[in-house]
Symmetry: C2
Subunit: 407 residues, 2 copies
Amino acid sequence: MTVSPLAPSSFPDLPKIAGINLATAASGTRYRGRDDLLLITLAPNSRVAGVFTKSDTAAAPVCWSRTIAKTGKALAIITNAGNANAFTGSLGHKAVHDMATGLAATLKCNANAIMIASTGVIGEPLDTAALTPYLGKLVENQTASWQSAANAILTTDTFAKGAYATCFIEGKKITLCGIAKGSGMIAPNMATMLGYIATDAALPASVLEYCLHEASDESFNAITVDSDTSTNDSVFLMASGSAANRPLTDPLDPLLNGFRTALGAVTRNLATQIVRDGEGATKIITIDVTGANSKKAARQIGLAIANSPLVKTAIAGEDANWGRIVMAIGKLGIGISTNDIGIDIGGHAVARAGMRVPDYDETPIANHMTGQEIDLRVTVGAGFGTARVWTCDLTHGYISINANYRS
Amino acid sequence: MTVSPLAPSSFPDLPKIAGINLATAASGTRYRGRDDLLLITLAPNSRVAGVFTKSDTAAAPVCWSRTIAKTGKALAIITNAGNANAFTGSLGHKAVHDMATGLAATLKCNANAIMIASTGVIGEPLDTAALTPYLGKLVENQTASWQSAANAILTTDTFAKGAYATCFIEGKKITLCGIAKGSGMIAPNMATMLGYIATDAALPASVLEYCLHEASDESFNAITVDSDTSTNDSVFLMASGSAANRPLTDPLDPLLNGFRTALGAVTRNLATQIVRDGEGATKIITIDVTGANSKKAARQIGLAIANSPLVKTAIAGEDANWGRIVMAIGKLGIGISTNDIGIDIGGHAVARAGMRVPDYDETPIANHMTGQEIDLRVTVGAGFGTARVWTCDLTHGYISINANYRS
């Protein structure tokens, strides 16, 4: 598969996080010549948090891991790529149980310390018998790099996604490393994406959970490729505590500002990489909405624009078809006044107060549309609600990928 | 432009409705070699009703016609194709006023008896000076056929859409003729579509309005091509009264059952023709949802499936990728239980009680997927809510059309 033209030039150099180990393996169950299993193990006193798909048809591994994440403690996360173990009924729950108990036996821990993530085809029973033989090998050789880990979880992705940031908590240096996968079935509330962020910070699970929700809301929940939400989305935040900082207990403690900023940077970086790997994407589109009555309304407006097939195809065609942006704003029916709408593309004024600007010149805008990074700014009134969302264009590539791939 | 492979073999033979006349003209403002103006005039005692887009950014002609329709009376509807007169601010309202007063002067009536519809590009001021010179010609020669009328209102459509039905009201034969346009920016709540249904029935405006809303809800509001909702959608029901039936005043009067059935048949026929002309469509998809807690929930589920790019591309690829149907049901997050979900494709059981059926055989389903008419049936529980929605597949053709057309 051709690498997305929007891909970063290389995978970043992610450092090891003390207390968190990685292992990968190739089960050969669906893919040839690549790893499709990822084991992450955590030092005994690690703390974890998770955010998961809000889909009513959440997959069996999501149901399992959601419960474990609530305890704030885990010792391992096992991930398989190629089969989502979704809509597999009692067989799916049995498969999850088999994986967890199998790995727990190998790790000599309780099955309730094992989290599970799956990605791939929906509706086909997961053949755990084909995967469990690799658990011993994974546990024995936990020396994989973040890049290998990022590669092992891919499905239709065209490049591995990683990001990191550092910060300080009361003078102790903290590192955060993240990897993610996802390129289709991407919409807010955790679409087909898996994310794993590891840090050496020492923080209680309640703080991790707050910070992960906060960061996800402005990153993974602010992107959309195709408005479709997956059954399997999961993002995990793991903290080994090896940085030995004082474990602050209030997520809003100013001493944690640096950590929250760093986590936000990592999740935003990973989220926009997912958009950059949007199926068939040739352009990444950043949409800023201001002047809405609430943050929620601003997000809705941004997503209405981001999910509009007509807007996305126009951008694919490098057409500054801003009338379709007007349409997308209006179609929500949430009481926007046409006369309050203003639009800028690439920093150039297109519309003000519900009309095209009098001296409208499409030349600089048409030029902006030929680039890979498209900026849309929309104002809808005098409210204080703002939002930023990211999406990609809708191209022939999306059709080709999805008319042929069984996901 | 190639005619949609789903188009009917020919335009139906629509009879003239006594008291309702048609005229078309070519202004040459946007299109070459075709008509782009349609005038419909109504006998003095005609009654009218309308349903209009719910978009917050409704176009100037919609704002105007909505007001007139509420009075239940009109003498003419003038339509232009090529410019939507949407998001045109005060210039747009002036253009509507100029068209109405110009036509009223020619027809020697009040401007408040003129309804207006526009379709085409959003955001460009409508140059009425280029259109008003044709009003005299239109009024002088009102002998156009329904087929000519249907052709004059097209934009990206690949075929003209007409339908008719007859019924009896207390022994008087009633005829209904309808035409419509629309193939993109189609979603419930009146997407870029215009519809005109004329009848010789004698019925008060209140009855027409009830019946039109009822019929639209199960037809124009139950179709989606791309989830995008237009700024200009309008459907008009015109009743000349020339059939001289007794004007019944209660829309639920059993004596009107035949009329309501006939109107439903015409609107459903037109609506499915719009789907058949969905931009790039190669397959029409009928989705039946049963077992939902309410009719509204059933409709939501049907539309979630119908609007899913992943479902639509899979069908374009003739892939019985039913896992994506599960995803689409789940993504609504309205509390469906996975274990209640059942799916049939082309009459063949795919899933029951949240799992693939044990003896699943994809052969007959794969065969069904190669056809032009795809049937999906989804059950989500034991509720009494049912809905039927129609959509089309999402193909390279949609991308090609919309990456190049300025709508």
